[in-house]
Symmetry: C4
Subunit: 395 residues, 4 copies
C-alpha cells in the first residue's frame, strides 16, 4: 500500500481528503444522486444490515481472494465501475484509474462519458479494460464506438440500461452545474488551487474523449451538453439489445437490472452477464437498494450467467456480503472516485489494497478459504421479500 495513504483506513478517509481538494460543485456531482438521496443512503445501509458469519478453527492458512471475474483472472472479485467525468477528479483520471486497477489485478471499466478516450486509456494500460456504453439515438455513433473499443483491446462491453433519461439530481440543480460559468464558480475553483493546477491547467483537453469525434465544434465540456441530451433514447427496448448483441462479438454485460423479470429478459436478449444496479442512486430515488434486490434476482438467474452488483459497496466486508447474497463480483463507484480525487493513481492503489486486505481478513474470520467456497455456502434467502426489509410496501 502506498505509504502516503497508509493511515487512510476506509473510503470515508479518502472522501474527507477528496472533499477538501476539489470544488464543491464537482464533489457534489460525484457524491450526490437523485431526489432526496434515499437510495444512496439505503444502498449503504442495506449492506450494513447484512450479518456475516463468524466461524472458528477452520484451516485458514491459505486464504485466497483471487478468482475469475467474467472469465478474467482477478486478484479479487471486484472491478472499478464506469464513472463519467472521472478526468475532473484528477489529471487524466481514467488513465490513472486504469493503471491502478491493472497493478492491483482488477478490471477497470471506462465510461462512455470519460474525459480520456478509449485510445488514450489503451495506450496507458497493458491489460484489457472494459468499456461502458449506453444506447445513443445515433446508432452509427454506437457502432463506431464499439469498433474503437474493440480496437483498443476491450473485450467486455458494459451496456448501461437504467438511463432512459437522466435522473433528477438536486445538488446539480442547486449548483447550476450545467449552467454557464459564474464568478461564484470561478471563485470556488480558485479556492482549490491544487485541483485547479492539476486538473484545470494540466489536465486538459477537457472534452469527452470518446465522443469528441462526433460532436462538431465542441471544445469545452459545456459544448457537449445539448448533443448528449439529444442522444438519450428513451425508446430503446430489448430488441435493440438483440441488435447490439449482433454488433459486439465480445462479452456483453447488461448494467442496471433491479427487477428479476428484467434479469430474465436481459439473458434472453443475449447478455453474458448482468450488473444489479440502481446506478448508485443517481437515477430514480426510492427504488430498492441493490443488496435487497440482489437475492431474488440471483434466484431468477439461477446460475445461468455471472451476476455482479454495485451500489453502496464500501469495504472488503461488503464484497463478502455481496457474494453471500448471490453475486459473483462487485463494482465500486464512489469509493474509487473519492480515492482518485484524493490522490490519483497512488490513492486508488491504496484503496484497492485496503479492500483486498479487508476481504481476506473477513473471509478468514468467516471461515471461507476461497471465493468458490463462498459461492457454495451461500444460502438463498427463503423468500423474495427480505424480513422486515422496510416499513413501506414494495410495489
Amino acid at each position: 500500500m502506498a505509504d502516503r495513504y497508509a493511515t487512510l483506513a476506509s473510503h470515508a478517509d479518502f472522501r474527507r481528503i477528496a472533499r477538501s481538494r476539489i470544488p464543491p460543485l464537482i464533489f457534489d456531482y460525484f457524491e450526490g444522486g437523485a431526489g432526496d438521496e434515499m437510495t444512496i443512503h439505503e444502498n449503504e445501509t442495506a449492506f450494513a444490515a447484512v450479518r456475516l458469519p463468524q466461524r472458528v478453527m477452520v484451516d485458514m492458512s491459505a486464504v485466497e481472494t483471487a478468482g475469475d471475474l467474467l472469465g478474467e483472472a482477478c486478484s479479487m472479485p471486484l472491478a472499478l465501475a464506469p464513472i463519467g467525468f472521472a478526468g475532473l477528479m484528477c489529471r487524466r483520471g481514467e488513465t490513472q484509474a486504469a493503471r491502478a486497477a491493472e497493478a492491483a489485478g482488477v478490471p477497470f471499466c471506462l465510461s462512455a462519458n470519460a474525459i480520456c478516450s478509449v485510445e488514450e486509456v489503451a495506450q496507458a494500460a497493458r491489460r484489457p479494460f472494459w468499456f461502458q456504453l449506453y444506447m445513443m439515438r445515433d446508432r452509427d455513433v454506437v457502432v463506431d464506438l464499439l469498433r474503437r473499443a474493440w480496437d483498443g483491446g476491450c473485450r467486455t462491453l458494459v451496456f448501461t440500461v437504467d438511463l432512459a433519461v437522466p435522473g433528477i439530481r438536486r445538488r446539480d440543480i442547486r449548483n447550476d452545474l450545467f449552467g454557464g460559468t459564474t464568478p461564484a464558480k470561478l471563485l470556488s475553483y480558485a479556492c482549490h488551487p491544487r485541483w485547479l493546477v492539476d486538473v484545470g491547467l494540466r489536465g486538459g483537453p477537457h472534452t469527452f474523449g470518446n465522443l469528441a469525434p462526433y460532436v462538431a465544434k465542441a471544445r469545452h465540456l459545456a459544448g457537449f451538453g445539448g448533443w448528449l441530451m439529444r442522444q438519450f433514447d428513451a425508446g430503446v427496448t430489448w430488441k435493440d439489445i438483440a441488435w447490439l448483441r449482433n454488433q459486439w462479438k465480445g462479452r456483453l454485460v447488461i448494467k442496471g437490472i433491479l427487477d428479476r423479470r428484467d434479469a430474465t429478459m436481459a439473458l434472453d436478449a443475449g447478455a453474458d452477464a448482468l450488473v444489479v444496479s440502481n446506478h448508485g442512486g443517481r437515477q430514480l430515488d426510492g427504488v430498492a437498494p441493490t443488496a435487497v434486490a440482489l437475492p431474488a434476482i440471483a434466484r431468477a438467474v439461477g446460475g445461468r450467467a455471472p451476476l455482479l452488483v454495485d451500489g453502496g459497496v464500501r469495504s472488503g466486508q461488503d464484497v463478502l456480503k455481496a457474494l453471500l447474497l448471490g453475486a459473483d463480483g462487485v463494482l465500486i463507484g464512489r469509493a474509487w472516485a473519492y480515492a482518485a480525487a484524493a490522490g490519483g493513481e497512488a490513492a486508488i492503489a491504496a484503496l484497492l489494497a485496503r479492500f483486498q486486505v479487508e476481504l481476506r481478513t473477513a473471509m478468514t474470520l468467516a471461515g471461507f478459504a476461497d471465493i468458490d467456497t463462498i459461492r457454495d455456502r451461500r444460502i438463498p434467502p427463503a423468500s423474495d421479500v427480505m424480513p422486515c426489509d422496510k416499513s413501506g410496501p414494495n410495489i
Copy 2:
C-alpha cells in the same frame, strides 16, 4: 420553469425562502399541525417508505403525465389543495395560485376561508376552479356560498368533513396566533419588510372574502374569529351530506376520509369522489398517515369512484407512489403554500413544473408510459395492515 426559481430543486428549497420571507407566526401557522406533529412527519415518511420499481428497456419514447382528474383534462393528476388564509402568504395569494394552476393545467381549489372571494378568483381565472366548503351551523350561509361558487363557474365542490372541531395546534397556541396585536408581533412584521409591503400594505382587504358578507362589522381578520368558531358544527352527520347532495348539482368530493367504513358511507351519501386526508396532520395527531391508510380505502372503494389523497406529497415521485398505492390523483398543500410565500405565482409555476418533470422522469424510469398504465399495474397490497407499518397497535 421561471428562470428565477430554476435552482430551487425541491419543496424544501421553496420552504427555505418562504421561511426567511414571512413572519414566523404566519410561517408556523402554515407549516405546523396538531399535537406533537407526529402525523405531519409520518405523512412524509410513509411516502418515503414506499418502494418504486425500476424497469428498463421499456419503450418510453412518449411518456405522458396528462390525463383525466375528476372528469377534467389535466397536465398531471394533481390539484392545489384548499389552504385557508393563503392571501397571507403573498398578495391576493389565492388569485395568484389560481393563475399559476391554470397555466400549468391543473385544478386550483379555493378554500372557504380564503382571503380572496370566489368572485375575485373567478375574475382572474379562465378555467373553472374547485371550491372547498365545510358545514356551517347557519345552513343559509352554506346555500348562499354554493350559489356563489356555482355562479363563479365552480363545478367541483370539495366538502371537508374532518373538521368537526378545529385541531389543537401548539405552535399557534405558543405564538398566541389568535390573540390581539402585541409589540412583539408588530416587531416581527417589521423584520419582514418585503412581506409587510407585499401583503400588509398592498395585499388588502384582509378579510375572508367568501365569508365577509355574512359577518356584520368584520373589517379585519380578528373580527371573524368568534363568528367562525360559532359556525363549527360538530353535530353534522351523513344525513347532512345527503341534504348537501341535493343542494349541489355539480361534482361532490368528500375530503377527509381515513377509514374505509367512512369511505363507503360517503359514497352511499352521494359523493362523486373522495379525498383520503388527515388534513395534513392539522386535526388529530396520531392517526394513520395517508399513504398507509390509502390501500385499504382503495380496496373498499373498489373503483366505484375516483380517489384522491393528500398529506405529505412533496415531489413527483410521491405522486407516482400515490397512484401505485391506489389513488387517482393527489392534492398538494404545504408544497404550494411554501412556493406562494417564496414568490407568488411565478414560484408556484416553478414548483408545478418541477413536480411534472419529476413525475415524468419517475414514470420513465419505472416503466410507465402513461397514467392509465400506472393504474393497471398497481398491485393491491395483500392485507389491510402494511407490513411492519408501525411498532404500536392500530386501534
Copy 3:
C-alpha cells in the same frame, strides 16, 4: 385556563419553565429514572406509537369527557399520581396540587413520602383525595397511617407494590442527592432565588409530613434517610396484601402491576382496582413500557376490576389511547410535577384544562361521544405480543 399559562401548549412547555426555576439537583430527581432511562423514554414512545382512528360525520354535538373513576364522578378519567417530595417543587406542593385537582374535578393522590401531611392536605381540600402507601417494615406505622388517611377523609388507598427496593437512579447518584450539603449545592440553590424563597424560606417545614411522627429527632429531610431505608421491606408478599385488605375498609388499589399473572394475584388478594405501572421508569430499567404491557393485562383482568395505567401519559391524546388499549383511566406523574414547579396551583390547573380540551378534541375527531363509547369500541389486540413491538426478545 389561567391566563398566565395560556400559551403553554403542552407538558413540554411547563417542563421548560420548571427546568429554569428549580435547582438541577431537584429537577433531576423529578425527571430522572433508573438505569439508562430507557423505560422512561419507551413509556413515552409506546404511547406515541399507538394509532388513533379518525372518524367523520358522527354526531359530536355533545362530547362528554366526564365519567366515573373508581366510583367517583370525575371531569375526565385521570388522576394526579402520587409524587414523593412534591413539596420541593413549590411551596406546600401537595396542598396546591390537591386544590388544583379538586377545582378541575379529578382525584389527587397524596404520596406517603409527601412534604405535606395527610392532615394538612385534608384541611385544604374539600373533596376526598386518595392516599398512597407502600409496605413498611414497621406494620404499626402502616396501621397508624391508614387510620390517619381514613380520618383525613381518604377512601381510596393506592398501595404501591413495585418498590421492594428503591431503583438505582443514576442522576441522583451523580448529583449525590442524598449526600450532605456542599458548597456546590448551596450555590445551585442560590442561583434559583425564586425557588429558594418560595420553597426554601417560606415552604417549610421540610420534613415528611406523614412520616415525621414516627421518626425521632428528624427535623430535616436528611434525617429521614436512614429511617426510610430501614422501612423498605423486600419480604412483602401477597399474604401481606391480604392482611392489608383487612385493615382498610375503603377502596384498595394496587399500583405497580406489569405482568398479567401479578394482575390476577392482586385481584385474588382482594384488590378493588389496579394500576399498570413501572413507576414511571424509576425502578427497573428495561421492563416493558406500560402501553405495551396494558392490553395483555386488560385481557387477563377481563373487566373484573377497573384498570388504571400510568407512565408516559403526556397529553389528552394519550389518555384516549390508554382507554383504547384497555384502561379505565390514567394517572399522570411528571406532567403535573413540571406544572407544579412551573407555577404551583395555577399552573397545574392550566395543565389539567389543557388535558381536558385535548381529550375532548381527540374524542370528537375520533368519533367517541363519551367515555363509555370508547370502552365499548376498543378492540383487544389479537395477541399478547404487540406487532414488532421491539427488536429484542421479551423474557
Copy 4:
C-alpha cells in the same frame, strides 16, 4: 464502594474520566474495534433491546447474587475478561485488576498479551486467576506458557479461538498505533502527564510479561510487533484443540463462539465451557451481536457445559439479561478497562460494586431471589431468529 468513585453511576462515567486521563491513541486502542464498529454498537443495543420482567410481591428478603462460576464460588456470575496491554491503562494494570477482582470475589482473567507476567500477577493475588491464551505457531511457547500458568496457580484456561488473524481496526490504522514514535505522539503523551508518570515513568517494564522470555532482544513493546504477527496461526483447527486438551489438565474454556455448530464442535473437542463472544467487535465487523447469538447457542449446548457470554455487558441489568438469554455468567471487557484507566484498583473495585448492587436490585425487582432461580425461569425463545432482530438477512 470506594468513596472517591461513589458518584460514578455507570461505566459511562468511568469512561469519561478514562478518556480525559489517557492519550487518545491508547484510549482508541481500548475502545475501538473492527470496521465501522457496528458490532461494538450492536453488542450494546442488543442487550438494551432485551426486556426484563417486573414482578411484585415475591419474597425478596434474601436476594443472593453469589453462586458458582465454572466451579468457583463467586460473589456474582461475572469475571474480568482478558484485555491485552491492560498495563497501559494504569501502572501494572493487570496486577491492580487481579487484586480488585479478588477483593470483589470474582475471577480475573489474565491476557496472554498482558504487560504483567503470570508470575507477577500470581505474586500479587491470593485467589487463583484465569489465564487466557490463543494458539501460537511455536507450540513450544504454548506448552511453556501452560506450564507457567499452572505453576502460577491458574486452573482455568480461557482459550481464544476468534483470532485466526487480527481484526482490522480503523482507529489504530488512523492513529498509526503500531508505527514508530512521532513528535505528535510524544506531544499527546506530554498532554497527559498523570498517565505519563503513572504508566510511562513508574509503570515499566513495558514489555509483554508473558511473552518476553521467548522474544530475543525485545525491550520495548514495539520490538514484539513482528514476533507477535508471526505467531498468529490461521491454520489452527479443532484438532489442535484436541491436542491442547491433552496438554492442560485444568478447566478448558473456549472463547469466541458465535455459531451453534462451532459450539458443538468445541464441546466435542473437549472444552469444559464456552464463551459466546465476537471479541467485543474487534475482529469481524458485521457479525451477530452476542445477545442475539446466545439463545440459539444455549439451545445447542443444552446444558452440557457452562456458557459464558461477553460483548456489550455494561451494567448489572445486562448481567441479568445475559442469564435470562441462556448464559451462566458473563465477562466484562471495556467496562473494567475504563475503570482501570480512570483510577486503577480502587476504581475497578467501585465498578464491580456498582455491578453487584445493580444486579441485586434488578433481581429483586424482577422477582429472582438467586441465580439458580434465574436459570430455571428462563424461557428459550421459540426460534433461532430473534423477532425482527435486524432488517437484513442473516447468512
